[in-house]
């Protein structure tokens, strides 16, 4: 594939989304495209598959050549024979009800003889490890399984190139690892080239041959091996919304980069000084709210837990272990099937004390402008102004909330929940789908609030955040509390059994104690 001088304008935007982009993807190569959310990565995908300019409202210049033919000239559907895409959202990329029908769908479109279909379906399901699920309904698959199925649907059509558009954004760390190692296996055993679009680098380090870095201005500012890019642009990456591998970030912070930046644990070993654990502990001994013998349907079973006043509590665990349910019960959004939730707030004014930021911030917006959104529950002009300033949305006060970027939407929903100085704030995976810069911005705001006394309960998969911010951690497993207490002590438990990973700092410390 060869892209030359691609520039793309949307009708309703003044600035071009993509500017003068040129790159190529060779056979059997894995290329990683890095860029902030909103930098035009998905737009680029549409260009590569020929959906744009056909369906584009705007203008497009430049050429996309695939196997010596311009993609734009191909008939609709013809490109799909050689380029397959796995999308970010596992829910919306299927149109059939069962696994085998979904895999067959692509083959039917290619007019494959039905006689041989079953054989190829079995083969591809075996390749991705879903042979047991052949007859299963797609709705009952886990997120990781759905992404594997999406990959199977593409693989069965024998493409020469597969585009993956943030394929692991909706998966928990364990499922992400499983998915990436499946791709690595495919890379070894097939002739396919992969084009991965991501803002989170970590899982992809070992698989990538080459990276492209897409800036916020729509230009590609780096094309080459990963290590070189990190070394050259280390300072700029954060502002471009690209997150470095955590190992590299840690090495940079500690100033132990040397001549080549480390990318993996192995490379960092031995270079790293031991960080002393100066964690802020011991605060908040008094319980604020909690649950006693609480069960909810078949999701939670006999849970006893309490949240301490003034704590920053992280709720961790694999997808489907009941984290969201627990928080909704504690916040009083859902009522338990049995057991009791206790808290010091009166029933009527409960939600002026308790804030809850949902996974999808759009669900919470009620009004037609950012300003009104914050002002909705408190009319005080000065307070609204202060709140908008605090979360960096002053310039967008007149916009419709739906027109904000992902990061801004999230900050707005946090702001609406804190405008009345709520005592407790629950957050359901607030950093999910955010690029590095907006994650950092959001966490700063939360820490700010925590310091001023707000109790924060946050569901997260990110163990680094737990390590840096949390004063307490609740680990869930299969609807029960597997651990509750100090984060430091959690790392000494058997965290693999809880589908968790120790944060890098802790990994390094334990490495350091291994006798050389």
């Amino acid at each position: 594939m060869n892209v030359s001088n691609l520039t793309l304008n949307y009708e309703d935007r003044e600035e071009p989304v993509l500017r003068d982009i040129s790159f190529s993807v060779n056979e059997k190569e894995t290329v990683l495209l890095l860029g902030a959310s909103g930098s035009g990565k998905s737009t680029l995908t549409h260009c590569l598959t020929g959906l744009y300019p056909r369906e584009l409202e705007g203008s497009m210049e430049g050429r996309v050549i695939f196997h010596d033919k311009p993609v734009a000239d191909a008939l609709p559907g013809a490109v799909s024979r050689s380029i397959g895409i796995v999308f970010q959202d596992p829910e919306t990329q299927f149109c059939m009800l069962t696994v085998e029908d979904e895999v067959a769908f692509g083959l039917e479109n290619l007019q494959v003889d039905p006689e041989v279909m079953e054989e190829s379906i079995d083969a591809v399901l075996r390749d991705v490890g879903l042979q047991e699920k052949k007859k299963a309904k797609i709705t009952y698959l886990s997120g990781g399984e759905k992404q594997k199925l999406a990959l199977a649907c593409i693989l069965v059509m024998n493409p020469t190139m597969i585009i993956l558009d943030e394929p692991t954004a909706n998966l928990d760390p364990v499922a992400t690892e499983a998915f990436v190692s499946l791709l690595e296996k495919l890379k070894r055993t097939t002739e396919v080239s992969f084009f991965v679009i991501e803002h989170d680098l970590d899982p992809w380090v070992s698989m990538t041959d080459r990276v492209l870095m897409l800036g916020r201005d729509g230009r590609i500012f780096y094309d080459g091996p990963l290590r070189g890019g990190l070394q050259q642009y280390a300072g700029d990456l954060k502002s471009e919304g690209i997150s470095m591998p955590r190992v590299s970030e840690l090495a940079l912070q500690a100033g132990v980069v040397g001549s080549s930046i480390p990318l993996t644990m192995e490379e960092l070993k031995g270079r790293f000084p031991i960080i002393s654990g100066d964690r802020h502990k011991g605060e908040g001994k008094e319980s604020l709210l909690g649950a006693e013998h609480v069960s909810w349907k078949s999701v939670l079973r006999d849970v006893d837990v309490s949240v301490e006043k003034g704590s920053f509590t992280a709720v961790v665990g694999p997808n489907g272990s009941g984290k969201t349910t627990l928080c909704r019960l504690l916040a009083g959004i859902t009522a338990p099937s049995s057991g009791e939730i206790w808290h010091p707030f009166g029933k009527k004014e409960r939600f002026s004390h308790v804030g809850y930021v949902f996974q999808n911030p759009e669900h919470q917006f009620l009004t037609d402008s950012v300003w009104e959104e914050v002002a909705y529950s408190s009319a005080d002009h000065a307070q609204v102004k202060r709140m908008l300033e605090w979360c960096g949305l002053t310039n967008h006060a007149d916009l419709h909330p739906f027109r904000l970027s992902q990061g801004q939407k999230r900050r707005l929903s946090v702001a609406t929940m804190l405008v009345n100085d709520q005592d407790v704030l629950f957050l359901d995976e607030p950093t999910f789908g955010q690029d590095a810069a907006s994650t950092e911005h959001l966490m700063k705001l939360l820490e700010d609030k925590h310091r001023s006394g707000t109790t924060i309960v946050m569901i997260t998969h990110d163990m680094e955040l737990v390590d840096v911010y949390a004063t307490r951690v609740i680990a869930m497993k299969e609807g029960q509390i597997a651990y509750s207490g100090d984060p430091e002590e959690l790392w000494e438990e058997d965290v693999e059994a809880l589908h968790l990973k120790r944060p890098l700092r802790v990994q390094l410390e334990s490495e350091a104690y291994v006798p050389q």
């Binding site: 829910e91 916040a331 529950s377 929940m417």
Partner: protein, 255 residues
Amino acid sequence: MYLNEMNPSVKALTILGLVLVLALLFDPITPLLFTVSVIIITFLFGTFRKKHYLLYLLPFTIFAFGMLWTTIAFADVPKNPGDTVNLIGWEVPREDLLVALSLSFRVLAFATLSLLFMFTTNMVEFLLSLMQQLRLPPKLAYGILAGYRFLPMLKTEFGQIQAAHRVRGLGQESRWKRYRRFAVPLLAGAIRKAERTAVAMESKGFTGSRERTFYRNLSIRKKDWLFPAGMSLLLGVILFLSIHFGYFSWYQGQL
């Protein structure tokens, strides 16, 4: 079971035909006999959750009873007011009762036929068969399938929005205004989802053209004709019986 395995298009057309014929008749006995036989046939030749069937039948039965009562209560002036029947202590003109019964049993006959189809037909197979036997455009059929997948998703999303708004402290507003607030995020989400699904389908080579093969080939086999033949025979026998015993009449604009 036979009803579950037979070709869905043949089943649908047979039921459509039967409904059309039944619509032309207007007497109490024919639809009553037919309703009873359809229920028996459904239970004998279909596999489904029996409890659900009865649950679905219940509202239709209540509806039929309601119709029975209102038709009697608000009937036209009868031609033979003297000819009455005692209905649990209530003197009812005989012809009014017959009209009301015909109407109620008609409702039940239509209902049981629809339930027979609903409970023994797989949605995907029906659409596949519509494409393969009745030349329904794939664009439409797969669109319906994708939409069908959306329904549960929309339901969960609706619940989430409801909870999210409650936390924001809604409650003083009118119900209508509240629902209007639900509509915006729900629609925005639905449009985005639909667009993504469309792109995903296209990326798998779907163009909507009729030139495609089918993994599951639904052909019409010889035994599929058993259902239309059997059902017509059944209706014929019932018609013969009701004509023979003098109950039969065509629909001539009664009511």
